[in-house]
């Protein structure tokens, strides 16, 4: 009975967001207020959702509650880049709900108060495995997208330093190596995310790709991206060009740039790639990594850099390492210094309750003991309030 009534309530709320979506982003402000007033009334029933769509308005009172991201936004913002388990959950529930948590709120607060005249500030999200760093990053990206920033999102830097099929010597610089496959994928996703900026931004220099093709000065950035997608051999160079242009032009103030990199410790670790003569490749010899390192340096202004450390995909790092010092190594730490570290920890009791409630509402927990107090205590013990572990446990129930 409890689940049915709670589902009815959330069903009612779901209808309203649908209407709000069509009405545009202005309308929610007036309609959100009465709906939000409903939320405190339901608190005895352990509410897990909020109807506040805009991350800009997420505040302390929304902590622990899930908010819905419309699927349209999902496709534009995150065409490739969600963690696999989360994207499976999105597909199953046919909705994408993120929990509003303290680290993300803190970061949003900083972002709202950034001074764009100063050099870009670096924020590093770190924490133990499975605590929610990547999803916090997604929350921040959603916020920036709503605020109309240009988003440079690298979903997982670890993918660039391992299991690469094709390594070509770079056309631009003989000592470096190209990765055409990864670069072209990234360019495609970049295009999907930032469609409208590509025609606005104009290239500052002339770039010659090969004997027949070149990009003139003043042509839109979209052309460079197209070039990279079509001519896969030049994809890596196209990426380098894009990064350089964006860095140069963000200082001018035409747009705000968000650089979001997940798994940034890959840039300073080791690779598992080998050349034909079986010698190991160092990360700086990869053109993509080299350009990204330049991007992450804070010698430009007009935007921010948000980074996430990740042990899951990292190479040659112990399982229990999660501190920046351990995962980045001395080189990486020095390169990223100074930065603002933000710790992402396990769920607080309130957040845990909210998560369980969310699963119950979506009828994800089928075990008869799942909604009882003892069941919740068991889950709490077994997962120790770790979001990743909890998700894996609930998948069995």
């Amino acid at each position: 009975m409890l689940t049915r009534t709670s589902r009815l309530v959330s069903g009612a709320r779901r209808l309203d967001p649908g209407r709000l979506l069509h009405a545009g982003s202005q309308a929610p402000q007036s309609l959100a207020a009465p709906l939000d007033n409903q939320a405190p009334d339901d608190s005895p029933r352990a509410v897990s959702r909020t109807s506040e769509k805009d991350p800009a308005r997420h505040g302390e009172q929304h902590e622990g509650l899930h908010y819905n991201i419309p699927l349209q936004d999902m496709r534009t913002l995150f065409p490739h880049s969600l963690p696999p388990r989360f994207s499976m959950q999105v597909k199953t529930f046919s909705e994408a709900c993120l929990m509003v948590r303290k680290p993300a709120l803190e970061l949003l607060h900083y972002l709202k108060n950034t001074n764009f005249a100063h050099p870009a500030v670096r924020y590093v999200l770190y924490g133990e495995k499975g605590t929610g760093k990547t999803l916090s990053l997604c929350h921040v990206i959603h916020f920036c997208a709503k605020q109309d920033w240009l988003i440079l999102h690298v979903p997982d830097a670890h993918l660039w330093v391992k299991s690469c099929r094709s390594l070509l010597p770079s056309t631009y610089n003989k000592q470096r190596l190209d990765q055409p496959a990864e670069a072209s994928i990234w360019l495609k996703n970049f295009k999907t995310t930032n469609e409208r900026f590509l025609s606005q931004i104009k290239v500052q220099e002339k770039y010659v790709w090969n004997k027949r093709e070149s990009t003139e000065k003043g042509s839109p950035l979209g052309e460079v991206v197209e070039q990279g997608i079509m001519r896969v051999k030049n994809a890596t160079d196209a990426v380098g060009v894009v990064l350089r242009e964006l860095k140069g032009q963000s200082s001018l103030g035409g747009f705000r740039l968000l650089v979001a990199v997940d798994g940034v410790n890959a840039l300073w670790g080791k690779t598992t790639l080998k050349r034909e003569d079986k010698s190991l490749v160092a990360p700086e010899e990869l053109a993509l990594v080299h350009n990204l390192r330049k991007m992450v340096k804070n010698d430009w202004h007009g935007g921010t850099i948000v980074l996430t450390l990740s042990q899951t995909g990292s190479l040659f790092k112990p399982r229990k390492a999660y501190l920046p010092q351990e995962l980045l190594g001395k080189e990486g730490f020095d390169a990223l210094d100074p930065f603002i570290p933000i710790l992402v920890s396990n769920y607080s009791p309130k957040e845990f309750e909210s998560c369980i409630q969310y699963y119950l509402e979506n009828s994800w927990l089928q075990h008869e003991k799942a909604h009882t107090e003892e069941g919740k205590k068991e889950l709490l013990f077994l997962s120790n309030a770790n979001p990743g572990q909890l998700e894996r446990l609930c998948a069995h129930l």
Partner: protein, 390 residues
């Protein structure tokens, strides 16, 4: 086939007896008095059905009284020598001291405890044997000899006699009007009747199940009526005490640390993993293993479920903080060792009844399973080599 053999057997035995009569003559006098009681004396030959081959019966060990006596003297002298060797007082040298001394002087690595060197009183080593049941003239001593189970029937006779006495006394009291009801059941708790094997051993005689049941019924009937002290004593001879298992569980004392928080420590083992756990009384359910959070130390859910078991059983999931150290073994045996240590430590925070429940649930028993040795001629402990027909 059987009948002539028996006949021949008895004839032979009679002849044997005649042959041995002279040597026995001196001892007959002593034995006549003693034979009425059930003494542990040597067997000369068997009565009743003998084996087909008398050779086998002859070969059975016969210990003469002399032999047993000599053994007892040797044992006592040896005991005194042993006490001197160990530097202890020969007068107060008990059997436990003897066992310890022998284990010290003759250390043995044999797994079978009964194969190790022992030094015990000859009465415990040499098996009990029946006395000679009849005298020189062939007349048996006991009046119930020809029943075949003389000791059993004499016991029944005695018990029934006592019952009749008690009833007669009760009738007399009732007639006088001094009869008073009194029930006593306290003697029965914590003790049990002798089992059939024990009774057989006591009577040195084979019994059947029905005989045994009959005897126990008679004794119980004796208990229902009010009896005097000597009858009580008679019945108590046939009862053995039973220790309650759960009282053997050690409960660790509580200790108090600097802040006044109560905690309790205990150890646990599983395969080759040893763990020590400190359980604090008030906490929020955090567990630290070797200084690392248990979620990181045991990434597998199964291990964490093992840790959850004691708390979940007692419904105290989020109420205690635990710090433990563990070494040795593998992932699963470390989890089992910590579980045992935590359960034992929790005993001190919990009522006796719950301790008994935990014991019955198997939380307080150390798992005795160890890796079985690989045997030669086999591929593993049980697996044999592939059998090839040719």
């Amino acid at each position: 086939m059987a009948a002539p053999c028996v006949f021949w057997g008895t004839a032979v035995s009679y002849r044997l007896f005649l042959g041995g009569r002279v040597s026995l003559a001196l001892r007959q006098g002593v034995w006549k008095a003693a034979a009425a009681e059930l003494q542990i004396l040597r067997l000369r030959h068997t009565t009743g059905v003998t084996a087909k081959k008398n050779v086998a019966a002859l070969k059975r060990e016969t210990y003469t009284v002399d032999f047993i006596k000599k053994q007892i003297e040797e044992f006592n002298i040896g005991k005194r020598h042993l006490a001197n060797m160990m530097g202890e007082d020969p007068e107060t040298f008990t059997q436990e001291d003897i066992d310890r001394a022998i284990a010290y002087l003759f250390p043995s690595g044999l797994f079978e405890k009964q194969a190790r060197p022992i030094m015990k009183h000859p009465e415990q080593i040499f098996p009990k044997q029946r006395a000679i049941q009849w005298g020189e003239d062939g007349r048996p001593f006991h009046f119930l000899f020809y029943t075949g189970k003389q000791s059993y029937y004499s016991l029944m006779h005695e018990a029934y006699g006592k019952l009749l006495d008690v009833e007669k006394r009760q009738n007399q009291l009732q007639a006088k009007g001094l009869f008073s009801e009194k029930t006593k059941t306290k003697d029965l708790i914590g003790s049990r009747w002798l089992i059939k094997e024990e009774l057989e051993e006591m009577l040195v005689e084979k019994l059947s199940d029905q005989d045994y049941a009959q005897f126990i019924r008679l004794l119980e009937r004796l208990l229902t009526v009010e009896c005097s002290a000597e009858e009580e004593e008679f019945v108590q001879r046939f009862r053995r005490s039973v220790t309650v298992q759960s009282r053997k569980q050690l409960i660790e004392p509580l200790q108090y640390d600097g802040q006044g928080m109560a905690f309790s420590t205990s150890e646990g083992k599983r395969k080759s993993a040893k763990a020590e756990a400190i359980v604090y009384e008030h906490g929020s359910g955090r567990i630290k293993v070797n200084g690392i959070d248990y979620l990181l130390y045991f990434p597998v859910t199964q291990d964490r479920e093992q840790l959850m078991f004691p708390f979940h059983f007692l419904d105290r999931l989020g109420k205690h903080d635990v710090t433990c150290t563990v070494s040795g073994g593998g992932r699963s045996s470390q989890a089992g060792a910590i579980r045992l240590a935590m359960a034992k430590a929790l005993c001190s925070f919990v009522t006796e009844e719950e301790v008994e429940w935990m014991r019955q649930a198997g939380l307080l028993t150390a798992d005795p399973r160890v890796r079985e040795r690989k045997k030669p001629g086999q591929e593993g402990a049980r697996r044999k080599f592939t059998w090839k027909k040719r």
